[in-house]
Each structure stands twice: as C-alpha cells, then as structure tokens.
C-alpha cells in the first residue's frame, strides 16, 4: 500500500491545480470559439491579474480572495479595450496578423510590468499559506483548496453565462456563423468586445486565485499561455466545456508525472501530449468542436 497514498495525494493535487487551469483555458476557448483568435496575450492577461491582486494586497491590504474579483473587473476592461482599440481593426482572414498583434500586446504588457515592478520574484506573505487540511495521510494545502473552490464557481458561472443568457446565445450565434449573426440583429462588435473582455477576465481571475499558491514574476504568464494552448486544442478548439475537462486532465497528468518522473519532466510530457493531439486528432479529445 506504499504507493497508494502518494498516488491519491498526487491525483487530488492535480485536481486542485486542474480547476485553475480549467478557468484559464475556458477564457481562451471562449475567445477562440467566438472570434477564431488564437490569443497569445492570454498569459499576459493572467500575469496582469496576478500583479493587480498582488498590488492590492501589498499596498491596499486587500485580501487576495477579494482582490481577484477586482483583478477580474480590471482585466475585463483591458480585454474590451484591446478588442475595440486593436483587434477589431484587423480583418479576421489575416489570422497571422492577429497572432502577431496579440504577441505584441503580450510583449508590451510583460515589459511594462518589468519596467514598473522589476524582475524580482514575489510571493504573498499571509497566514493561511502554511495551513493544511489533513485526512489521515492525505493533506491538502488550505489556499489551494480555497482557490480550487472559487475557480470552480467562476468556471461554472462563466459556463452558465455563455449557455443560458441572451448574451451568451448571441456570442454562440457569432461562433456559428459570423455572416448571418449580424443579420439577426446582433451587434457583433459589442458582443465580441464583451467576449474578449470575459476571456481576459477569466485569465485575470485565475491569476488572482493563483497568486496565494504560486510566485510572481513578470514572465509568469508565458508558461500558462503555452499550457492554455494545449488545453484549448485538447478540448477541441472553441469548446469551453472541453477546455475545462482538458484543464482538469492536464492538472492530474502533470501531478502524476511529477510524482513518478520528477517535476522537470512534467512540462515535457505536456508538450509531447500537445504534439500528439495536434498530429493525431487536431479537432480535440474532449467534447466536439462547437462552431
């Protein structure tokens, strides 16, 4: 039974991480599904969310579990502005131009943060960090559990918003057919601006929730950017429930890889899966592609 507890522990840890991954990936899947934009600035949005939450905590003494909401609102605004000011002006057929544009936005965000806050690593310093929930040999870190719970709620909220509201229906109509949606009276630019903002807000909130359990530096988003590409492709590009499932799966896979092969190989496994999915089943493993 020696193997049993580490194994269960790794799976539980994986699920805790996976919920945050899922939230990040849902944001990207939403943007891709509605606008067909591969958003290279997604990691930068996450990083901005982390920094916003961190600044609120350090200088305003706002609890990060409240601060992440403010970060989400801020990122919603940033996302909507990026859409209205930049993305909107690029015709979507020039998909490489949009990739370059989001890359540019990402470079600007990361380097502005670098310029303002420096390249130092930061970590939140608050009492909850050392607390653990124990059940026999299994122990779960308290901030992880709280972040997990909130991320699940946020992901569920996003899902309900997209599937059950009139706005979500408009966004899905654009995803299905961007030509006929405006003919049905949908204000395509407004809906897309809100969608882009929502995607950015999901990344920003995930960043805020990640802050208590992770550390912070200007380029932190890069890693999550690549991972969210993987999750969105795995989930079937554009399917938000698929992306969420892929996020959970990826969390567990990484955790198990770390347990058996060592931490440094977890990312390698990620990218090997990425290549396999891309070459064998580019339409995704989880869920069908909704478009």
């Amino acid at each position: 039974m020696d193997w049993f507890y580490p194994f269960v522990q790794a799976i539980l840890n994986g699920i805790l991480t996976g919920a945050l991954y899922a939230l990040i990936a849902m944001g990207m899947a939403l943007i891709f599904g509605v606008m067909r934009i591969v958003n290279f600035a997604h990691g930068a949005f996450l990083m901005l969310g982390m920094y916003a939450t961190w600044v609120l905590f350090e200088y305003g003494h706002v609890n990060p579990y409240l601060g992440f909401l403010i970060a989400g609102v801020l990122l919603f605004a940033i996302g909507a502005v990026v859409y209205a000011g930049l993305v909107r002006h690029i015709p979507v057929q020039a998909e490489f131009m949009i990739i370059l544009l989001t890359l540019g936005v990402s470079l600007i965000s990361v380097d502005s943060v670098l310029l303002i806050f420096g390249a130092d690593y930061h970590q939140l310093n608050f009492a909850l960090l050392g607390r653990n929930f124990r059940m026999g040999q299994i122990s779960l870190n308290a901030p992880w559990v709280i972040s997990f719970g909130i991320a699940l709620l946020a992901a569920a909220g996003l899902y309900i918003f997209v599937m059950r509201t009139m706005f979500g229906r408009a966004a899905r109509a654009i995803a299905q057919n961007a030509y006929s949606a405006p003919l049905m009276g949908i204000n395509i630019h407004r809906v897309q601006a809100v969608t882009f903002g929502l995607g950015a807000a999901a990344a920003g909130m995930a960043g805020g929730l990640l802050l208590p359990v992770f550390y912070l530096y200007p380029d932190v988003g890069h890693l999550f950017n690549l991972k969210s590409f993987l999750m969105v492709v795995m989930g079937g590009m554009g399917s938000i429930e698929g992306a969420a499932a892929a996020g959970l799966a990826l969390g567990v896979i990484e955790s198990l890889t770390s347990l058996y092969w060592g931490n440094e190989w977890a990312l390698v496994v990620d990218f090997v899966i990425f290549i396999l999915v891309l070459s064998l089943k580019p339409s995704g493993i989880f869920g069908s592609q909704r478009a």
Partner: protein, 336 residues
C-alpha cells in the same frame, strides 16, 4: 525585375564589408554582427514564413540545434565537422517537425512549431549530463585568434549566402511553388504542386541557414544555456524581423533587422531589461498600419520599386457583402 531590392541589398553588404576597415571598435562590430545574424535568420525564416506563408514560431529549434551540435560534438570531432553535424541534425529536426506540422494549417501549424521547440528546450534543460542543463555548456571558438572581426566577416558572409539563396528562390520554379502555396494551398495542390514536399524543402534550407547562424552565435559567446538558444523570445524575434521589414520580400528581413536591432540597441540603454517593450510597440504599429511590412508597403506605393510577387498576410477583400463584420470562420483543422 528585382533590381531595386538587389541593388539596395548589394549596397548594404558592400558598406558592411567595408565597415571593419575603418572601424575597429569591438562593441560596434558586435552590434552589427547581431544585426546581420538576425538578418540571416530572418532570411531563413522568410523562405518558410514569407514565401510559403507558413507562420513558424519555432525557428529557435534549428538555431539551438546548430549551436548545441557545435558545442557538444566538437570535443569528439573537431569544430568544423561539428558545425556540419549540427547543420545535419538541424535538418533532421526540420524533417521531423515539418512532416508533423505541415499537415496542420493556420494557427495549428504555428502552435505545433512552438510545441516542438519547447520540447527541445526542456530536453536541453533536463539532461544536465549531456547538455550541461541550465548551467550551460562551453562552445569552442571557431577562429584561432577569436577576434571580433573574423566573426563579423563570417556573419556578413552567411547573410550574403542567405540573401543570394532567397534571390534564387524568388525567381525559381521552386519559389513560385512556395508562393502558390501561400496564396492558396488547395489550388496549388490541385494543379499538381506537391505541396508537402515543397514546404519541407523550404524548411530544410531554412533550418540549415538557421543552424549555421546558431553555431556562429554560440561560438562568439563561447558559452550557451538552453533558454538563450531555444527560448520562445528567440523564435518570436526571428519571425518579427522579416514581418516588420516585409514578409515574402527579398529585402524585408534585412530592413527589418536594421530597424529592429538598431531600435533595440538604442532602447536597451533607456529601458534596461525591458527593451522588448519597443518590439511590442513596433509589432502593434506594423500590424495596424503596415500589414505588408516596410518593404511590402514601399513596393505598393512607389512605382519604380514595384516588381515583386504579392506579399502575404495582407488582408484579402471580404468575399461577402457583410462589410460590417469582416469576420469569416476559420477553416476546420485539416490533417490530410
């Protein structure tokens, strides 16, 4: 009819070859070395990304394999064969990467090239016994006295070779195949272009030049670490230079490197580590205002400059009457 671009290119190279005669300042030579190094990388990228229209964000893979090939093999075989081995290894990686990625289109292709490069970076990091891991590995010097001038001439030479190769590609049947693929891959396929093979050949040429550039770069600094060679920033820089200058034009990579490397050198002193900020701003400005790049836009505006085939990535007019949306769903991923 490419005269203006070839002439301007020739003038730039002539000036570059004369610079060390008058200027023996190692700092300036190193700045210009870097400029030409990235120009050669940009020219290499341009074969795949410009003429064939395949947006690769993974050219650091070949750059890094060339460098690591030189570093790791030269103890057992001498440096020159090690460079050749590095080039061969880079071409083998290109064969593997290309045969998987070229089946994908649009953003999927782009993501696949990133994924492969990341795998190489992580392997270089995670095998400290072989590659020195994060600590890095020493690289032998290629030139006996290791002077900046010899590296400088080698780099300008490599850029001239890459430029000549691009010139040949632009005028050859092979080049027209590439441009046909860029304009419409399905049509190219249907008129009998073996698109898979043509794209792969372009990538092999591109990888060989990138590997040579990598070896040169590594040998100048005598020491390399994985993030410096395989980092995504390197891939992004390699792709951005020619796009800024004008993807799919002969002179584009050269002009892009001239503008971007100069800007980055100037801003390095002002912004310190954050000098990539200027990259971001330039990229956004180019995408918004010069979607065909500097050379591409000049070619359209100035009649005497006009000559070349149409540039890629410029927006094609919207097919339908729905001007308001301008949004067309992306084709489904195809894996023929």
């Amino acid at each position: 009819m490419k005269r203006p671009q070839v002439m301007i290119g020739a003038v730039i190279f002539l000036v570059a070859l004369l610079i060390p005669v008058f200027l023996r300042n190692d700092y300036f030579l190193q700045v210009i070395f870097r400029l030409f190094l990235f120009a050669s990388l940009g020219l290499a990228w341009n074969l795949v990304g410009g003429y064939a229209g395949q947006l690769s964000l993974g050219h650091a893979a070949y750059f890094g394999v060339g460098a690591y090939g030189l570093a790791l093999l030269s103890p057992s075989i001498s440096p020159l064969p090690a460079i050749v081995a590095g080039v061969v290894l880079a071409m083998i990686s290109a064969l593997i990467i290309g045969s998987v990625s070229f089946r994908l289109r649009g953003p999927y292709f782009c993501l696949a090239t990133i994924a492969f490069t990341e795998v190489l970076r992580l392997i270089a990091k995670n095998l400290p016994n072989v590659t020195g891991g994060d600590v890095g590995t020493p690289v032998p010097s290629l030139f006996p006295r290791n002077t900046m001038v010899s590296f400088y001439y080698a780099c300008v030479g490599l850029t001239i070779v890459a430029f000549a190769l691009s010139y040949w590609v632009e005028r050859s049947r092979f080049g027209y195949y590439l441009m046909a693929i860029r304009e419409d891959e399905d049509t190219a396929l249907s008129v009998g272009v073996n698109t898979a093979r043509v794209k792969l050949w372009a990538l092999l040429l591109s990888a060989a030049i990138s590997a040579l550039a990598g070896a040169l770069y590594a040998s100048l600094f005598l020491f390399i670490v994985p993030d410096q060679m395989f980092g995504v920033e390197v891939s992004v820089e390699i792709a951005i230079l020619p796009m800024l200058g004008g993807a799919g034009t002969l002179l584009g990579p050269l002009v892009g490197s001239l503008v971007l490397e100069t800007a980055s050198e100037v801003f390095k002193n002002i912004f310190k580590e954050a000098h990539l900020l200027i990259y971001g701003v330039l990229v956004v400005l180019v995408v918004l205002f010069l979607p065909e790049g500097i050379v591409g836009t000049l070619m359209r505006k100035l009649s005497w400059f006009k000559s070349a085939p149409p540039t890629p990535f410029a927006s094609t007019p919207s097919p339908g009457p729905v001007e308001e949306s301008k949004r067309v769903p992306l084709p489904q991923p195809t894996s023929e």
